[in-house]
């Protein structure tokens, strides 16, 4: 365990070093992150400009969802996806072999290979947004509600990670993977809207197939005191199951790679 922590630290350090090497990118990336944060509010302002509430969500409540969406996108693009892109390169160049002959867990090695530290700004902006929205709503969440929201957020990060692992696993079968990353991004983008706005098939999709509801809607609901405890527990259990499944599929994918590829 301690060894893996150290390994994690070494990889993180290399990423920071790399980020500092391209200093211009660092600042441009940071500035862009903030710009997008506000830019992405435009459709929301337009839609809520027409109606005070939509499916029971007021503007400031919906803004809370956007805050969580932004936070998780920061995690996705800063911590999860850069490594994913590395794996794609590995598979394409055939250098994944070097990872596989290392005496450490391959999943761990590939998924901590690269971070984009300036995406942390995204998360900071998101937290500021959430605080401001709560302030406008005049609501101070109870400690219990904050704890549940926090727990759900951790589960959400784990889910994102599990999705990334699933995508990487798919890369062992499908040749071009950059598409899959973009597919995931475009589906994830729906997470900026409260999931209860959607109906029918969409709701099922965003709750069970791609659990965006758990990621971006449940934590704000918890803060608003509107989330049922049973829903929270079901969500957490679902996250654990999902992560486990991703791990199993990863192991299968590696097995497939070593038994079939050239």
């Amino acid at each position: 365990m301690r060894r893996y922590l150290r390994l994690f630290a070494v990889q993180l350090r290399a990423s920071i070093e790399l980020a500092l090497q391209y200093r211009v990118d660092f600042f441009v990336g940071g500035a862009m992150a903030l710009f997008w944060l506000f830019w992405n509010l435009v459709p929301m302002v337009v839609v809520w400009g027409r109606r005070p509430t939509i499916a029971g969500w007021g503007f400031w409540e919906a803004l809370l969802v956007v805050a969580w969406f932004t936070l998780l996108r920061g995690v996705l693009e800063g911590a999860v996806q850069p490594s994913l892109v590395q794996v794609v390169e590995h598979i394409r160049k055939g250098t994944l072999d070097f990872v596989l002959i290392k005496p450490a867990d391959a999943q761990f090695l590939v998924s901590t290979a690269r971070f984009e530290p300036w995406r942390g700004l995204d998360s900071l902006g998101a937290i500021a947004l959430a605080v401001y929205a709560l302030h406008r709503l005049g609501r101070v969440p109870a400690p219990g509600e904050v704890a549940i929201a926090l727990l759900l957020t951790i589960a959400a990060c784990a889910l994102l990670y599990a999705f990334a692992i699933l995508v990487v696993s798919a890369a062992f079968w499908v040749v071009r993977l950059d598409n899959l990353i973009y597919l995931f991004n475009s589906v994830f983008d729906a997470g900026r809207w409260p999931s209860t706005v959607f109906q029918g098939a969409w709701r099922v999709l965003f709750t069970f197939v791609v659990p965006l509801a758990l990621m971006t809607t449940y934590p704000p609901l918890a803060l608003l005191g509107r989330l049922k405890v049973s829903t929270a527990i079901a969500g957490l259990a679902g996250a654990v199951a999902f992560v486990t499944m991703a791990r199993l599929i990863w192991l299968r994918a590696i097995g497939h790679y070593t038994s079939a590829s050239s």
């Binding site: 990118d25 441009v28 459709p43 027409r50 499916a55 040749v175 983008d189 109906q199």
Partner: protein
């Protein structure tokens, strides 16, 4: 490279491009699925319009707006920027430059060759739309439909030229993908892809209609959904092709200078 030899080679390029699109169908399908954002917006806006229509859009109005948006996006998208950036980074562009055909011409063939495959997916969407809205919100004027089809060509050309221009910028700078992201970000808002421009505050709508983005999505969609009569549609089409021509010109200039630089510094 003469124009004649290019024209002679073009059908073959298209055929090979189509074969490639078929061979990579799984990836292709995934790529197309990334463009389903209009469906999400449709679901959202249907919820918004459930009680009362917004502007001229009732629920059916949104169905035809967003499904047409989907069709236009699928039929006119161009992603040559990815290919170009990759080729510059990996140095394979040099190989392309050695061939006696303009690399951008080759890329345009690849982009066009994918359209039949996309059409296969778009066709059912169009049928669903017609059935769902019983054709109510779609223009009945055959000439306007013809103008719509022409506007698809203009939108593709504009898309391709911009995509190729930004891809060519990779010859000058490392971060051309950031520019592409910026372009896409503006596209999302100002083209009517996420929301109909009519729903914007009037000053913002006027502003958006001055920009090229509207001609990529909003204009073809509005033409098909019957917002324009013949003359107005023709005016829009003219403006669209003017933008496309300008974009092609910029693309040619940027390309020529970029290749000169490439030759001087060896990429």
């Amino acid at each position: 490279m003469s124009l004649r030899s290019t024209l002679k080679a073009y059908p073959t390029l298209l055929r090979v491009g189509l074969a490639e699109a078929v061979a990579y169908r799984a990836e292709f399908l995934v790529w197309m699925l990334t463009m389903t954002m209009p469906l999400v917006m449709l679901a959202l806006m249907s919820a918004v319009a459930r009680e009362a229509p917004i502007g001229r859009f009732d629920q059916n109005g949104f169905v035809s707006y967003y499904l047409t948006t989907l069709i236009v996006r699928q039929m006119t998208g161009a992603w040559v920027v990815w290919e170009l950036v990759r080729e510059v980074r990996e140095g394979t562009l040099a190989l392309r430059l050695l061939r006696p055909i303009h690399p951008l011409v080759g890329h345009s063939a690849d982009s066009l060759a994918a359209i039949p495959m996309r059409g296969l997916i778009v066709l059912p969407v169009a049928v669903i739309m017609l059935i769902a809205t019983s054709g109510h919100d779609v223009t009945h004027d055959p000439w306007v439909v013809v103008i719509f089809l022409a506007s698809l060509g203009g939108a593709w050309l504009l898309n391709f030229a911009v995509s190729a221009t930004i891809g060519t910028l990779a010859l000058y700078m490392e971060s051309s993908m950031s520019i592409w992201e910026l372009w896409l970000g503006c596209f999302m808002i100002f083209s009517g892809y996420l929301l109909p421009l009519e729903l914007f505050p009037p000053w913002l709508e006027r502003f958006a209609r001055l920009l090229p983005f509207a001609y990529l999505q909003a204009v073809p969609v509005e033409i098909l959904t019957g917002m324009h009569d013949r003359t107005s549609a023709l005016h829009q089409l003219g403006a669209q092709y003017a933008y496309a021509a300008a974009a092609v010109l910029v693309m040619a200039l940027v390309w020529r200078r970029g290749v000169k630089r490439f030759a001087a510094f060896g990429g």
